[in-house]
Symmetry: C2
Subunit: 197 residues, 2 copies
Amino acid sequence: MAETTAQTRPGGRSAKVRAAVHRAVEELVAEGPAEALTIPVVAARAGVHATTVYRRWGSVAQLLNDVATSRFSGDVVVPDTGSLAGDLERWVGDVATDLADPDVLALMRATIGSGPGGGSACTGDRHAQLGAIIEREQARGGEVPSVGTAVDTLLGPLYYRAIFSAEPASGEWARGLVATLLAAIQCRVPPGGPTSR
Amino acid sequence: MAETTAQTRPGGRSAKVRAAVHRAVEELVAEGPAEALTIPVVAARAGVHATTVYRRWGSVAQLLNDVATSRFSGDVVVPDTGSLAGDLERWVGDVATDLADPDVLALMRATIGSGPGGGSACTGDRHAQLGAIIEREQARGGEVPSVGTAVDTLLGPLYYRAIFSAEPASGEWARGLVATLLAAIQCRVPPGGPTSR
């Protein structure tokens, strides 16, 4: 009896429900506008009771945050090419490729639209990855930018282009952002900024 | 008879309906999660027939795009301080102040969440303003960045921080972005980027 087996292994059952609900959210978001996304609709698509979804996630916003956190964690690998320039170029290329996927953009838009915490659910892992790349270069003894400057120079334009602009983020353009960041290390802005004209 | 007067001045009546519907959307978005936003709900709040809203805007996405375009146009004035550094510093400060308003963020999130065109409805006027600032400096005979570089260096981090990060965008941090942009003009990235290590 499959049902009994499932009930005696709550971890396995719970993981199956989670996977079915996550898949349902990703499908529904990819199919249409976020206004149609409600917990009963998600539950019906996932083949589970709406009360199960309410009990576990509480709201569409929390559910979307969970799906986005899971979808955008570990999907891009932190490279180890032996140099900061190499690592960053590989990594921004992978992020740009991810952001060119219409389903990724649809999930990001829906998660942002669901409430204040949505944006950071999409990018929390990117910050961690950028921090790991910079830390590795420090361990190599190289000169590094601060994580904050790297976020501003790399993630800022990458996500701005994905969400706020219709321009596609090409790999070449993304590698240009890395060049800008590395040039800024070699040519530090003097305190107080450059001389005003 | 006010009704007759209104009917003989369709422009005036139409403008009133538009203002009431826009105000209703801004209020509803500021109050709660975007999932509650439907055309009947907006119409009820605005005191107009739902069919009027359907006929004029077609969908919640189009309505939000219209409200965002209108809200984010002309709200920040293009300054004329006499220098590129001065103009940009004043302008990014005003943009950062705007982006610190919770109602602005709620409208942006809802508009982004409504579909693919939402993001550019929020920032179209910012591109135009940045272009105008750069054009004025060119007319003064000064050296200028490309609009694309300025978008990447200024709008990228400003909007990334507003939507994807929990960190507030202080005026000091925003002026630092201007310093970075101006330093990059004085210290051009060599073609092909800086020397890789």
